[in-house]
Symmetry: D2
């Protein structure tokens, strides 16, 4: 046979599960998009079409919904751990499971009446508005022995309206850019961070608190860095996470440089004193890097932040 | 000539203008997407290609950016009024201008340090994170005499996890739906509301405050309505706006019914007590209606909420 | 009651129906996205939540799928006519139905073997690749007496690499654009055309042939027009349809001017002889107009081509 | 320093370059979206913000447009090779360049007149309509010594309306799926294939012809395979490419299983004899695998087909 099968995996992608917990009249909501990917002893389904080792993707979908009932959803990471363990331990042919989850945040609708009249806030207990900011991400991989958990986020759009410069760069025959001493710095943060938890014997991280703290550190570092380059800002964001969160050994970013060009208003007899900008779509700078705890081995794939 | 020209308009669409105001170290940001549409004495450009009456779309773009400096951007509506007045009054061939604006909200990044250390909150003064919830909309039309201002929003996603029923409906030979006595009600609010301000002689509404109040009323009515149909919820949302905001005479909604189907867990020996839902994409119910102040004439086009 | 209900409608949107016809071993495919919108005696569902007159949107969905079997899908327009007639004539409370359909075209996969070996072309008889060019559109409205059928398309992207100029326009204090005597003209055609067929007593148009002919005329007029403005090209496209297709009385276009800017290569010692262009995203010019048969009344809403 | 910098890269993404070649009155068009990514001696820009080794992303953009003039665009792959070589050989700090390119295909507008009248086909020589089917992809990487070229495509949607079964799979406690003996098989092909050309001393592949042949082989294998699983179809598609194209050693696919569910029409007294299907959006099965020439080492990253 001149051709052979390489890495392969399969499963049901984008299962949209919403879990409501009723704590008396007060409801809680978890809103996930879960993708299952399984690999193992699956050569034959590719070579001959025999499905003898194939748990249907429809079954992996059913499992996601059933587990939302059986185990609840404390966090996306914990939910992914339940699922990955199940597939690897219950199916002899499955050697590795990877669960990817997107999570959409909701906040409660303010129950106070808009018209100032007296109202009980009862409605606030089961009424939600989607937060609509970043999408939270997690990826749980399990091979029957060791865990790899990579969490992250995407589409968190941030902007500094000053304290950003760009100068002192290389100039070649294709360089026309003018140096900038006060520019807007804006990006859509896409980041993934890897936990050093790998073993059932270790205590697991507090997934929810960890997420909030990592997010806060990235935002704070973005805001607090006087930036000479987006790379410098990226590194400060990553260092703040690694320095402050002992459960995390590695973080990778893809940061588009969302250009805001100062509009030339001189033809109209106006001076643009860093006031009016054109927000461009494409092209954009794209800055990508991994920041690691000293001594840690990089494991986050180079393109994972682009997915 | 067997064919004739009907309604026509032109201009530059989607001018992405960002305006920074520096109030000492504290910066303020307005982030708009502005589309200009002009009509008037423009038959000849269609018939013969003569541009003698055509102000280039490039010029309408320049005007948007120049006006961001000349007039500032107090509100999207006020900015649209400046622009529409300019085109109609400065160009003899232009009889009518329509300015459509999308606005993206930003909030300040919390300046307190994530690590608890003492820091000045200086960074918070020029650092922003995009709010990323609904997109605010406004449309200003002017014919040289009267104004029409329609504001709105889209993509405000809301959900009630109980207090929604659906039963007592018509059944025909194609009906298989089972009645529901406790379901999730979820929608992405798309709404447009028309101000009764039409004349420069009248005092203009407080655009920013009005927007916040309309939004709060819609959210509150959504949360507070015990719903027997999404139409009923829509009407309550509309009534709350018309009743409470005297500056508004008409509001129109397009509300998709974002179906959340209770998953059948019985095949797995599990009972789903309104806990686990599948969030479906398509198809979706679509409920659309206008709510009017008694005596007002409807002017919002039927499809405007779909745009 | 200080507020009243205005125009309202409801139904199931985006029913994705695929119909296979097996003509022996040769299969045929129709791939539609069908949205149903009903209006009538529906005040009470808004005011009190009574669903006594409401045929569920779920039932309208079922009807779409059942009719694909009962009536087949000869054309999107004919399928919409079946549906609209059914809802209006079978439900006393429903006075008007509007069916919107998107259609996706497929072409057969070439059955000849890539390796040149002898093969029967049997596979080509049930194997398809999505054409992936424009989306075909149709909208059928019925009030129990008269029909209105509006067909159209969107996302048909065309480009002339020469024979386009733009000069002789108005210059005001915000004009900086230089005149162009040889530019790229490119647009994504969005068009809707109205048939003059309104009555069951009249012979219906040949919907499929009409679509192909209208599309061919628009493409040909785009290519054949030496353009002094995109408005002129639009009018030529519209006139060609009205002149050549007696079944159509009105056509409306929304044509974005997809700017292709000649890149300034002089800083690099290079001459750009209309060779290298930057294809910009936003902003873009937007040209919209209706072309009518002389004597016809315009009925296509101004924003329909934007939907 | 407790944190260190890992893999990093930067450049300008999504440069939209359109190149027109005028061969007398006959024009030719190449329409690309080019993303540049550079890495090398760039630690300092991350640690201190020094840009001393940083060629600005703006310069990489300028280079893309200048090279479209200087070298022309014979193929996306050849254009990427020119760019990658330039950055690595001209900038001492740059050790590796990766160029990613999307290509959009155009076809000529048929110049024959829609009305059957005599017309010269002159217009067809510079008039194009975007093909709008798959997007062609290429990625060229260079480290100063060896080349890696990975080409591919995405969004090529195909469907077999019969000759697909799915049965004989594993059943566990979460399995409810019924076996299928005649189903629709549909997918959006995303594929990347790696050339074994790595060295300037070797003759380069004929990039354009190779692309057409790979595409034809994938389509043909999809159509010709009587499928017992999507994995089997995938493997046949991959084998056909490796077997038939000696310049390619490895190919990877991500194939979503675009579910078309047979609609249950029995409640309406109708029999659905594989005629009416509901095309579902989410969830979908996702089948991913690499097919290799025997003896070749896999180099295409597992997630590249998802990008």
């Amino acid at each position: 046979m001149p051709t052979i099968l390489g890495q392969n995996q399969y499963g049901k992608a984008e299962n949209r599960v919403v879990r409501i917990v009723r704590d008396g009249a007060t409801h809680h909501i978890k809103d996930l998009n879960v993708s299952v990917s399984l690999s193992g002893d699956l050569d034959e389904v590719h070579y001959s079409g025999s499905n003898a080792n194939v748990l249907p993707t429809d079954t992996t979908k059913n499992t996601v919904f059933a587990f939302a009932k059986e185990h609840g959803i404390d966090s996306a990471e914990q939910f992914g751990i339940h699922l990955a363990r199940h597939f690897v331990t219950s199916q002899e042919a499955i050697r590795r499971a990877r669960i990817r989850i997107e999570e959409y945040a909701w906040e409660r609708i303010d129950g106070s009446a808009a018209d100032g009249s007296r109202r009980t806030a009862a409605d606030a207990k089961h009424s939600f508005v989607r937060k609509g900011q970043e999408t939270r991400l997690s990826q749980v991989s399990y091979d029957g022995e060791r865990w790899q958990v990579i969490s992250g986020l995407k589409d968190l759009t941030v902007l500094n309206s000053t304290d950003s410069e760009f100068w002192g760069y290389v100039k070649d025959g294709y360089t026309t850019l003018k140096e900038a001493y006060d520019r807007i710095l804006a990006t859509d943060v896409s980041a993934r961070w890897r936990f050093n938890w790998t073993d059932d014997g270790q205590p697991a991280p507090f997934w929810e608190e960890s997420y909030e703290q990592v997010r806060a550190r990235m935002l704070h570092a973005f805001a607090a860095t006087y930036s000479l380059s987006l790379q410098q800002t990226l590194y400060q964001m990553g260092s703040s996470v690694i320095d402050g969160r002992s459960e995390i050994d590695e973080i990778r970013f893809s940061l588009p440089n969302n250009h805001h060009f100062l509009v030339d208003l001189e033809p109209f007899g106006l001076k643009n004193d860093n006031e009016v900008y054109f927000a461009a779509d494409r092209p954009y700078g794209l800055i990508e890097a991994t920041v690691l705890r000293d001594g840690a081995q990089p494991q986050i794939p180079v393109d994972l932040t682009n997915l």
